[in-house]
Symmetry: C2
Subunit: 316 residues, 2 copies
Amino acid sequence: MLTDFNTAVSMLKNADKILILTHRNPDGDTLGSGFALLRALRKMGKRAKLLNADRISEKYIHLYEGLTEDNFSEEFIVSVDVAERKLLGDTFMEKYADRVDLSFDHHGAGKPFAKMTYNEPDSASACEIIYSVIKALGVEIDKKIADCIYTGCSTDTGCFKYSNVTARTHRIAAELIEYGADCSRINEKMFDTKSMNSISLERMCYESLEVFGGGKVAVITVTKEMLVKSGTDKSHLDAIKPITRQIEGVEIGLTVKEEDGGAAGVSIRTSENYDASLICSHFGGGGHIRAGGCEIKDTTENAKAKVVDYILNNIL
Amino acid sequence: MLTDFNTAVSMLKNADKILILTHRNPDGDTLGSGFALLRALRKMGKRAKLLNADRISEKYIHLYEGLTEDNFSEEFIVSVDVAERKLLGDTFMEKYADRVDLSFDHHGAGKPFAKMTYNEPDSASACEIIYSVIKALGVEIDKKIADCIYTGCSTDTGCFKYSNVTARTHRIAAELIEYGADCSRINEKMFDTKSMNSISLERMCYESLEVFGGGKVAVITVTKEMLVKSGTDKSHLDAIKPITRQIEGVEIGLTVKEEDGGAAGVSIRTSENYDASLICSHFGGGGHIRAGGCEIKDTTENAKAKVVDYILNNIL
């Protein structure tokens, strides 16, 4: 069921022994939201813990630095930035999906699964919502919380670059700077640090580049072998996915990644003229207008052919 | 002579037939400042024109779109974002440097040359200053002016990524969005568009990559031949310059570019631990703390050796 902001805040106010869940393959927004909320709830004297299905990349260490573990049996479960149940990850979906009391989400195409969902599709990031929630909870924002919120605001907008940025996004960033957020250091870690390995992966990706539809569609193929050769893993793909669409003239960019079990993960980025989530939903996936993804149970070559054919025949 | 904000604004209020000068190799900030001011002065009923020493890249077309030319003999000269006289470019320096009535600048290491200089080194961009100036002039900010100001705010901060960003920078961006600035479209042109040629140049640059000082210093060398081979020109180098410093572990990144007449242009980017302008000033150049440049009258190989030696022996 959908709920309004004040009800969502009241639910948190009244809750204790709170488990916070983030989405699988956790990114800066789900983690920033989760750890900001965790820190705020603990400042209120509540017991809170955070779980997520996958390993947290080391670059997010500033989000959880200084936090202690707490083990208790949860009485209230809240999810942050989880657009649908399966994004909890297989194990967590089974264990928790039906027990989530409150979900904070900002995905317009989200599929609410919690008992109560507060969704603000105008928010550029879940962190924008959590910022308002923390203020409404009456918790004073400290530097650590500001760092968490800033990380989500910044990563989900490509550092204030994308069309999801609103005046509010910038005003929150201004306030976070005043609360002491270490913005440029966070941005450097999030956007401006490449390992020699990821540079090597990037070069291989450019070698795999193919162009279709008179230059409007560009495709990069990432095989498991490329990851091994470059010494990278799938966490490096976030930096690869935007590449295709950034090429002059390209309207739709695909990154096709060889997955385990003979499947292919397709990530789609579009110009303002095309809807990525629409293309992805045709293949059982989803996402936002300019960025989406889907999984196809086929080889990378076949998956690529299927998506490119669909785009050439139905979208362009 | 240095002057204060109100005096600078009064000078503009009282002036007419105004010539605006930008710096050579004009970037988004000098052009954004110049065209925003031009548009504002014309809205006040004044005659104003803008000149700069070099060709304006096509990606800045949104700054001057719709403007008509006006020819008059100037009675007042104002420069924007020009840190020192030689940055007017050789011809303009000779012609105008001693006649500039008012200079708006934000470079802490600037060398004032105008009759009056208003310098705000805390401003992330000259556009931040010009925004306040236009408001103080009582001109209503329209979408076109907002686009100009936003372009400078965004390009001089790496899209709100760098340490020069302040709460004010974000608040101005919020207001510019409300004035209708086309932020994401501007950012896409400024940051997220690469031609196949520039991708090809980037790949060559990675091939030229050398590392010194145990991985703390990285150098990319750009020869004229590389530009010819990739079909690019020096305007493509802005995208290359940050690459070195973005490599994990690199504290000081150099891009050494073969210039005409047997000279080498060295661009330096540093981590927060080192001062780029300090290194550059040793070679007669200058800049900001994290980004600077200098020209060395020598081959690229020798220039590289000189700067790397100096860094290894005196800086690291």
